[in-house]
């Protein structure tokens, strides 16, 4: 199940296109859209119940549907909303989708570090060109001095 939300859109972007201003100056701006998604996700009593349940143990969509007396489709929708908000992660093993409580901290850190690396890499590619041209200038100056 895939619901297009602000977070999903951001994740779908190639890494280098994802918000350089946040990497450059993380404190200046932050992503409101995600926060809105998180609070929207928490505004529903069933979804709060799901989080509470997952706080005690991981559970499959089927378990959750039974527990909350809902259809599988209905539960998938709720889990989808929580997943979009980054409050829950799911993993499919065989035919069972297991849900866990989680904010994807580690993945976020790895993605941030990679974008940060790309920023410096792009800077250093430009710096390479300047180093080359300064080296050439020095060689020319050196030859002039010897003459």
């Amino acid at each position: 199940m895939k619901v297009a939300g602000p977070m999903q859109l951001a994740l779908d972007l190639p890494l280098h296109a994802a918000d350089p201003c946040y990497i450059l100056n993380p404190m200046v701006q932050f992503q409101r859209a995600h926060l809105d998604a998180s609070f929207a996700a928490l505004s529903d009593a069933t979804r709060r119940g799901i989080l509470e349940r997952l706080g005690r143990a991981d559970a499959s969509i089927t378990d959750l549907a039974e527990k909350f007396h809902m259809t599988l489709t209905g539960m998938k929708k709720h889990v989808g909303v929580l997943e979009q908000a980054g409050l829950v992660t799911t993993e499919k093993v065989g035919r069972v989708r297991t849900c866990k409580l989680g904010l994807r901290r580690l993945e976020e850190e790895a993605a941030w570090i990679e974008r940060y690396r790309q920023l410096w890499d792009a800077r250093f590619d430009e710096l390479d060109k300047i180093v080359e041209s300064l080296k050439r200038e020095e060689r020319v100056d050196g030859r002039k001095k010897r003459k």
């Binding site: 280098h16 993380p26 932050f30 926060l35 509470e52 901290r105 690396r117 800077r123 080359e132 300064l134």
Partner: protein
């Protein structure tokens, strides 16, 4: 041939960036310390950012102020701070004062034959400061707001 750039979170408070350049240390140092040269590489075009102004008085006790425009943001972004230490051809240390939790950055240039190894070390004031910088810069994070959400979640789960 292009040299690789590496970034590693060395500890709870530190990020380290490394890169080798095909040139002597004094040339790489010059490109970091002359504003007219700095301007040509610090704001890569591929990141959609460009300099509005670039002031840098690169000597111990000097200050800098970089102002960028960015395609995705209406407001210009300003970065500023002080040079704590400038040792010609080998080391520059500066502060990042646009936020209270800004890092202290140290770049060193180590000449090896006809190459120079550059190491940029960024030390944040606390683990929280670096975590927040990462969280607020991530696609789904929002720094302090996220911390509050975490707390809220813990409360919900326990209730």
């Amino acid at each position: 041939m292009k040299n690789p750039t590496t970034v590693e979170r060395k500890s709870e408070r530190e990020l380290v960036v490394t890169r080798t350049f095909h040139g002597p240390a004094h040339i790489v140092f010059e490109a970091w310390t002359k504003p007219e040269l700095l301007k040509r590489w610090w704001a890569p075009k591929s990141f959609g950012i460009s300099f509005i102004s670039c002031e840098a008085d690169v000597r111990t006790g000097g200050t800098y102020r970089f102002v960028f425009s960015h395609a995705a943001s209406e407001q210009p972004m300003a970065f500023f701070g002080r040079y704590i230490e400038v040792t010609p051809h080998s080391r520059i240390v500066w502060t990042n004062e646009e936020s209270a939790d800004g890092a202290v950055s140290t770049v060193t240039f180590e000449e090896k034959g006809d190459k120079t190894l550059l190491v940029l070390h960024e030390l944040y004031p606390s683990k929280q400061a670096l975590d927040d910088a990462i969280a607020s810069g991530s696609t789904s994070g929002a720094g302090e707001q996220f911390e509050q959400l975490d707390t809220l979640l813990v409360t919900l789960v326990r209730s």
